[in-house]
């Protein structure tokens, strides 16, 4: 009888334990799937990088965990850097995990709160990093990283309360107008426009030649947002100067609204493809890469997609010429922060420093077709070389329109929420500007530029 009870008890325990088995899936496994789904890695190209060739047997074996979001498209860059680092440090094994956005933030926050966070984790810098600093999950890296080669705008992304809390990103992204040189030539346009009048003339010439001037994903807010982030500055730089200097503190201003109005005017003028209001962002890119539209407003992160979808395409890029300024956004990317609860801080800092070496910078720049932020790496991509040498890209802290205002919202979020209502005629541009102003912290914005 007793044996029976014991067996029953053991079986019950086994059953309960087996219930938990699913909950205890290792993070690295989890992410391997994610990585494979997101970046198309095959099993051989596993996210977990191991190198067991012993070079320095005396060193104690260390396993570092690195978490990244696949949204930035930099997985391949990190994996190549990890490979190179592990080849030089045989005692170090690095488990690299990549998650899709926005699940990444949820997973990271849960893991850090539970004390099971990775040693190193990616953030988008600025106020996203501030969250982790405030919660005590980011290690102060002042004086611990070799950052001499990096410019201030690269360090600003990772600087919170005057201290460095992350390794600076090694490349910049360029938000601008990408165009099809062959289609421009077909329409008789021999050089890219340098004034707003020339831009409009180019659109008219393309239209007259039966070519859609601009690909627009009007079904979603993001394509509008990319165009707006450039145009709003180019059409109303005087207004932004007033905001920065404290002369003005409201977004409900006709000058600010003109940058948004222009996007709608282009729709009215037929510069977007037919039925653009039913096209999403992915199809917008396809329109451009299938050479059905001559221009697209996007960032340099799309160049990889352009190349994959149409390797033969003759692409160029130019900063948008507005009525008041010519504008393209140069935004330095962010990189990894160190978990303050990490048990391997020394090795983690050593790895972070490795990501900042000229060799690692080059690996990342080549992997993402990016533009390096230091002169220690070179650009091998022809289009990126063209972009990098264009004179009109303003260094622009990407926080500017997404700095937190009322209720944790910000003008960029409000823009995304309501721009399609404006496009559909349910709201006016002025109403949108007033709503954006509700989520606007003018003082915090001005403070960035002081």
């Amino acid at each position: 009888m007793k044996t029976k009870k014991l067996v029953a008890l053991l079986l019950a325990m086994l059953m309960v334990v087996s219930l938990f088995a699913g909950c205890n899936k290792p993070a690295a496994d989890d992410s391997s799937n994610d990585v494979q789904n997101e970046v198309g890695a095959n099993p051989a190209d596993d996210a977990v990088v191991e190198d067991n060739v012993a070079e320095d047997n005396a060193a104690e074996p260390v396993t570092l965990t690195v978490w990244n979001t696949s949204a930035g498209g930099v997985d391949d860059g990190y994996k190549a850097i990890i490979d190179a680092y592990c080849a030089e440090h045989e005692n170090v094994k690095i488990e690299f995990s990549s998650y899709t956005d926005p699940e990444y933030t949820t997973k990271l926050q849960s893991a850090l709160s539970a004390g099971t966070g990775p040693d190193l984790y990616f953030t988008t810098g600025w106020n996203a990093l501030q969250t982790y600093v405030d919660a005590g999950y980011a290690e102060n890296l002042d004086g611990k990283l070799n950052i001499d080669a990096f410019s201030q705008d690269a360090l600003d992304v990772e600087t919170i309360n005057g201290s460095l809390y992350g390794a600076p990103g090694v490349y910049a992204q360029y938000l601008s107008v990408y165009y099809n040189k062959d289609l421009f030539a077909q329409a008789g346009i021999n050089s890219f426009p340098t004034t707003y009048d020339e831009f409009i003339a180019a659109c008219d010439a393309l239209k007259a030649a039966g070519i859609t001037p601009i690909a627009m994903g009007g079904q979603e807010a993001t394509p509008y947002m990319f165009a707006w982030l450039i145009s709003t500055q180019a059409m109303s730089s005087e207004f932004f100067n007033d905001i920065r200097s404290g002369k003005s503190d409201t977004l409900a201003d006709a000058r600010f609204e003109s940058g948004m109005q222009m996007l709608l005017d282009w729709g009215e003028a037929g510069y977007y493809q037919d039925n653009y209001e039913g096209t999403d962002g992915a199809m917008q890119t396809v329109l451009f890469t299938t050479e059905q539209a001559a221009m697209i407003f996007t960032g340099s992160w799309s160049v990889a997609d352009f190349r994959t979808q149409n390797a033969e395409m003759n692409i160029g890029s130019f900063a948008f010429p507005g009525t008041e300024a010519t504008y393209g956004v140069r935004s330095v990317t962010s990189s990894l922060s160190l978990n303050s609860a990490s048990a391997n801080k020394d090795v983690a800092i050593d790895f972070l420093n490795y990501t900042l070496t000229p060799a690692a910078q080059q690996i990342m720049v080549d992997a993402v077709a990016g533009i390096p932020v230091t002169n220690e790496a070179t650009i091998n991509d022809a289009l990126m070389q063209e972009v990098a040498t264009a004179p009109d890209y303003a260094a622009f802290p990407n926080i500017a329109m997404n700095i937190a205002g009322a209720n944790g919202s910000n003008p960029q979020e409000v823009f995304c929420n309501y721009i399609l209502s404006v496009a559909n005629g349910e709201k006016t541009i002025h109403e949108l500007a007033e709503l954006m102003n509700e989520a606007w912290d003018a003082a915090a914005y001005a403070a960035i530029f002081q």
Partner: protein
Amino acid sequence: MSHMNRKMKRHPYIAFILPGAILYCLLIVYPMLSSFMNSFTEWDGIGEKIYNGLANYITLFTSPIYGEQFANALKNGFIFVILGYIIGIPIAFYFAVLLDKKIKFHKLCQTIVFLPQVISTVAIGLLVPLFFDATFGVIATVMRNVGLGHLVTGWLGNQTFLRFLVVIISVWKGMGMNTMLILANLQSIPQECIEAAELDGCNEWSMFFSIKLPLLKPSLINVVVLSFLNTFAAFDIPYLLGGLNGGPSNCIDTLGTMFYRVAFGSPYLTNTMGLATAISVIQFIIVLVVSILQIALLSKNQPE
């Protein structure tokens, strides 16, 4: 024999329920209660929670930024439920009655009717733009090739079309389960009732409306309540069709997608976890109250 052992002997089911009950409390009840508490805080999801009373609820009802979105999401939820009822329940009844008649290949038909239930919603979401995209979609391409190109418009940017699409996909996906619930109920109607009605000269129509339909009340309650639960705060279909912002002008935004947007939608949103939790608490209360009301109203005069 100890007190515990005696208790176990008298109530042996406790031993069976306990592991599940503990897990349920840990994984469902505790997060629910903690969500309720979080809705009274300003919190970024990771740092310190700052108690802010009813501020999140007040924001949801009065803020110019969130108030309109919240009212719109609430309205959309009810629109989807009502349209889902109007279109979905009669279709489920129709298929259930048809399958009950043991038509030819009824087993195969049963499988076909149930099939949408097991198709991944994500797959459906990915197929939609392939069909309805105005430039590259299958339908637009076919229409252009047969000379109907002038009728092609940006369907996926059309609010009415998107709302309709959400309802149709929800109905199609839920049809299998609803049909099976009604069918199981139909097949459990005592044969004596049917035979007695037949003896009394009852025709097909009055047999269905006067005999079968009243006896189908239990499954009707299930269908009505389950459809409400699945549709009111639907997340998957609106998110897949409309993205984070719930489509153009938030036309297919529900409390589910709004919660997701406010909680996790952007790394640049800060301290909005409390606000998002307030949305989920309101959603929970609405679902609870409406479900209880539905069950109470539909259970009245239940035939013996």
